[in-house]
Symmetry: C3
Subunit: 426 residues, 3 copies
Amino acid sequence: MQNELENYFDRLWPICRSITGDGLRRSLEIINELLPLKLTEVPTGTSVFDWTIPNEWNISDAFIIAPDGKKICDFRKNNLHVINYSVPVNKIISLDDLRKHLHYIEELPDAVPYITSYYKETWGFCISYNDYKNLTEGDYQVVINSSLAPGSLTYGECILRGDSDKEVLFSTYLCHPSMANNELSGPLVQAFLYKKIAELPKRKYTYRFLFAPETIGVIAYLHAHGRQLKEKLVAGYVLTCCGDKGAFVYKQSKQINSLADRVAKHVLKYQEVPYEVIPFSVGGSDERQYCSPGFNLPVGSLTRSMYQRYAEYHTSLDNKDFISFDAMAQTVETYFGFVKAMELNDIYRNTIPYGEPQLGKRGLYPSSVNPTDARDKIHNRMHLLSFADGNTDLIDIAELRNCDISLFSEDIRILESKGILVKSNL
Amino acid sequence: MQNELENYFDRLWPICRSITGDGLRRSLEIINELLPLKLTEVPTGTSVFDWTIPNEWNISDAFIIAPDGKKICDFRKNNLHVINYSVPVNKIISLDDLRKHLHYIEELPDAVPYITSYYKETWGFCISYNDYKNLTEGDYQVVINSSLAPGSLTYGECILRGDSDKEVLFSTYLCHPSMANNELSGPLVQAFLYKKIAELPKRKYTYRFLFAPETIGVIAYLHAHGRQLKEKLVAGYVLTCCGDKGAFVYKQSKQINSLADRVAKHVLKYQEVPYEVIPFSVGGSDERQYCSPGFNLPVGSLTRSMYQRYAEYHTSLDNKDFISFDAMAQTVETYFGFVKAMELNDIYRNTIPYGEPQLGKRGLYPSSVNPTDARDKIHNRMHLLSFADGNTDLIDIAELRNCDISLFSEDIRILESKGILVKSNL
Amino acid sequence: MQNELENYFDRLWPICRSITGDGLRRSLEIINELLPLKLTEVPTGTSVFDWTIPNEWNISDAFIIAPDGKKICDFRKNNLHVINYSVPVNKIISLDDLRKHLHYIEELPDAVPYITSYYKETWGFCISYNDYKNLTEGDYQVVINSSLAPGSLTYGECILRGDSDKEVLFSTYLCHPSMANNELSGPLVQAFLYKKIAELPKRKYTYRFLFAPETIGVIAYLHAHGRQLKEKLVAGYVLTCCGDKGAFVYKQSKQINSLADRVAKHVLKYQEVPYEVIPFSVGGSDERQYCSPGFNLPVGSLTRSMYQRYAEYHTSLDNKDFISFDAMAQTVETYFGFVKAMELNDIYRNTIPYGEPQLGKRGLYPSSVNPTDARDKIHNRMHLLSFADGNTDLIDIAELRNCDISLFSEDIRILESKGILVKSNL
C-alpha cells in the first residue's frame, strides 16, 4: 500500500488547491481513480445556512521581481508563496509598501507560512524569514495572475451500500495547497480505507465517503444532506493530520459514548501505536460542523500529530519529509479496525440462559482431559455466553473481559451454527 | 478593605458574646453599621423544632481571688476565663473544690480553653495550664456576676433584592466571646461581601445575609423561614473560620452537585489559593441545620483553617495573631467570585445551530489574515457557540473547555448584541 | 475453632469424592454432624436444563503393577492417581500404550495432577513427573476397580429461618478427591459459618446453605430451586479456595452493586487482611451458574488464593501443608462479618428531621462540658441522624462517614429507644 500511497501523494502534491477552483477539481479527479466519486458543484452565491458560496478562485502564476531582477516568491516553485484567494495584481512598489503584503515566521526562519483570505479581498505573499530579512531597498514588481469570478465549489462523495441504511461517515478535506500531513494525509488514508471496506464480503452498515473543502464545503454538504445524516448516521470520523509517525490522538464527539467513540476507544486499546483520547474541542476540523448544536452528530476524529500541536503545521515544512507512508498505512489499518469492530458489534442472546450450556456434548469444550489446555480460549467462549443476555453489545462484552472484540468472531460463528447464540439487536 | 476589617475587628473583639444577651446585641449593632440588619428577638421559652429558647445570659464581671489576694482568671482581661452561661456565684472555697470548676489544656499550657454550658446549669473558670499548676493551697474567692433570666435570643438579617425571587444565602454566627478565626472572621467577611454585592449594577438573584447564634439561632431562623428557603434557595454558604492564611477548604452540601457546590468547585479551580474539597460532615457549623434531612438545602461552606483542624481552635490562642486581614480580604473576594459566577451562569442557545456561524462577516473573527493570532480568544468564542445548545449551562460549558467561566462574559455580551446567542434558561 | 476445623479436615481428607457416588455421600454425612442437612438424590438420566445427570461413579481400588512387580500409582495412597470417573480396567499393556493413559506436570515434577473425565468415557492415571521419567520398558498391569452405573447425584442443604423470607445463600462444592484449599476449605468454612449464624439471637434474613457437586450439582439445584431464588435471594456467596493465608479476593456478581457486593466491599475495608476486589469472570466456580443470564443472581465469591492463581491448584500439592486453620477461621469470621453487616443494614428515618435533635436534653450528648471529649462518638451519632432520611441505607451512611457500619449498632439501639430513629425499610 505504501508505494501506491506515495505515487498518489507525488501526483497530488504540486497542485494549488483552494476551497474552490480547478486545483480542487484536478485533485478530485486523481482521487476518483481510487474510488468512484459523485461530484457536486455548488454555484457561487448559494446560501448554505449562515454562509454564502464565494467567487471561484483560480491562479496561473505569481511572483515578485526584486530590484536586482531576480524572481522571488515564485508560485511555480512553491504555491504557498501566494496568499490563497489573493486578488490579481501587477504593479511596481517600494520595499516599504511591499512589506505590508509579506508574511513570514521569525521563529521558523526557513519556513514559508500558509495564509488564506477567502472572505476578505486582499493580496499578499508568504516568504521565509531568512529571505525576508535579506530584501534590499528598491522597486519590486509584484505579479499575481489570479481570477475571482462566479463559479462553484466542488465536493465529491461515494457510497458503499450495506445491508442496513444505518450509515458510517468518513469525511476529509481537500482545499490546502502543497501541504502533507495537514492536507494530503486525509484524502489518501480515506481513499485507501475505501478500498479495504469495498473488499469486505458483506457489510452491515452503509459507508459514506466525503471529500470536500474544509468548513464551507462541509457546511454546504450538511445543508444538502444534514437532515439525512441526522436520521441515519451511527458513527463518523473526520480524517485529517493522519500521515506522520506521531502517536494517535482520538478526539471524541460531543456525545462521548456514541458508537463512533466507543469503537475508537475500544480498538485503540488493542493496537500497538501509543494513543491519547481527548474531548471534543472547536480547535480542529470539520467535526466542528458535524457536532454543531443543531446536528450534534456522532462524529469524532482520529489523527496523528494534530493540527496546532506541531510547529510545522500550516507552513512549507509540513511536507513529504514530515510524513511517513508506513505510518499512513498504519492509520488506514487502524480506521479499518474501527470498521471491523463496528461490523462485528451486535447484541446476542444465549439461548440456554439458565445455568451454562454443556459445551462438551456439542464438541465445544476442549476434548483434552487436561482442562488447563486452552483455558483462555474456552473462557472467552464461556464469557461470551455468560454475558450474551440480549442487552449487552459485543463491545461491552469485550470490555468486561478486557479483550479485543475481534477475539470473539470465531466463537460467534461456531455458537451461532450450534444454535446456542442468536443475534438480537435491539 | 484590610484597614476597615481591622477596625471592625478591634471593636468587636472585646465583647463577651453568647447565644443570647447584650454582648450579642452590641455586636449586631456594630455589624449594622456595615449593612442594614433587621433584628428579630425570639423570647425565652419559644419552641423551635426540637429546641427551646433558653434564659438570656448576661455577665458583668467574674474573677477569682487567690489566697495571696491576687486576682486571677479575670473576666475583664479575657472573657474566656468564665464558662459561657455560668450561673452567678460568690463564695470562698478550698483549692480542692475549686479544681472541680477549673478547665485547662495540658497540651497547650499557655492557652485558656473556651468552654460553654448553655443547657446544663453550672459555673466554672478556664485557666492556662501554666497558671493552673502554680495554684497554691488555701481559700479562693470565686465571683461570677452573671444573670440567667427570661429574655430573648437575637438574630439579624438583611436582604438584597434581585430580579428573581430565587435566593442565595450567606449565613454566619455571632455567639462566641473573644475569638478571631472561629468567630469574628465569619461576620466580618460576610459584612464586607454584602458591600460588594450591594454595589453590583444589577442582580439576578436575591441575596440573604443571616447573622445568628450558632445552632439554636439558625434552628430558630429555620423554624420561621425554613419553608420559604426550601422553595427559593438555589445556593447557600456558611461563613466560618475564614480569616487566616490557611488553604481554602470547601465543604460540599449533601447534594454535591447543587449550584452552590458546582459554583464553588468551579471558581476555586481558577483562583490562586491552594484548596481542598471535602464531603459534607456533621463536625462543623450551621450547614448541619440547613442540610438536616427535612430541609436538605444546597448549603456548603468555604473555610480556611477549619474548626477542629487547628490546635488554637476554641482557645485564647485563636486571636488576632492567628488571623490575617489580607487573607480575610482574599476570602471576601473568593466568595464574591462565587457570586459573580452565579450571576453569569445562564443557559444560552446559539441561534445559528446548523454548522458554525460565519463570524468573519459580522466582524467577530480576527481580521488578521494570520489565524494563529488570538487563536485562544476566537476558540473561546467558538466553544461557547458550539456548546450553547439551550441545555448546557455556562459552568458546564466552561468546564468543558477547562477555563474560568468569567472568560465568557465579554463574548456573551458581543454575541447577544449580534443576535447569535440568546438566553434560554430552563 | 481451629482444632475442630482440623479434626473435620483430617476425617474428610482421605475420602475419594466425585460429582456422584459414595465418597460424596460419606463426606455429606460428616458435614451433617456440623449442620443438619436435608439430602436430595437426583437420579441418573434426569434432565437439568442443558445437562443430564450421568451414571454414578464408585471406585474401590486402582493401581499399576510395574515390570519389577512394584505397585505404583496406588489409589489407596493418593486418590488423585486415578482419573476421576475412569471406567474399570484390568489388563497388561506395554509402556508405550500405558503412556497414552498417563498424566503428569513437567513443571511440577513432584506433583500428581488432578484430572477428571466426567462426560467422556476413558480411563487413566496421574503420576508425578519424577516417577514418570523413571518408568522402564516392560509389561504393566493396570487395574481400576471402578463402576459406572445408574444411581444418583447427591446434594445437601440446610435452612436457617429468619423473620423475613428474603434469603441469603452460601454455596460450596463437595466433589474433588483429596485436595485442601480447592475442596475442603469451602465446606469447612461454610459449616462453621453456619454455627455462628445459628447462634445469633435473632435473624432478619433466612439463610440457605448448599453443599453440592460443582457445576452439574448447582445446575441441578437451580433446576429445582432457581425460580424461588430469583424471587427471594438478596445476596449469595460461593465459598471456595478460602483456607490458606493468601490475601482475600472478592469476585463481584455481575450486578456489581447488589447487596452481596456492597456488603462485601464495605466489610473488607474494615478488616485486617489485605484484599482485592475483582469483576465477575467465568473462570471460577458456581457463581457462573448463579450469574448465568437467565438467573443473574446477586452472588459473589470471597476467596483467598484463588483457583488458577496458585501453582499447587489442581495437584497433590494442594494439601494440608498449603492451608492454615488460623486463616480458615479468619475467613469464617470475615464471612460472618458480611452477615452481621447485612443484619444491621436497614433504612432509618430521623423523626426530628428539621434542624438537629437536641441530644443534650435526652442525655445523648456527652455530659462533659468539654466538647472535645468523645467528639468522634458524638459525631457518629449526629452523622447517623443527619443522613437517616428514609432513603439511604446504613451501608451508604457508613460509607459517607468512611467508617465501619458496626460502629452504628449501639447508637441505633439508643436512638430507637428514644424514638428519634425509626426503621423505615423501603
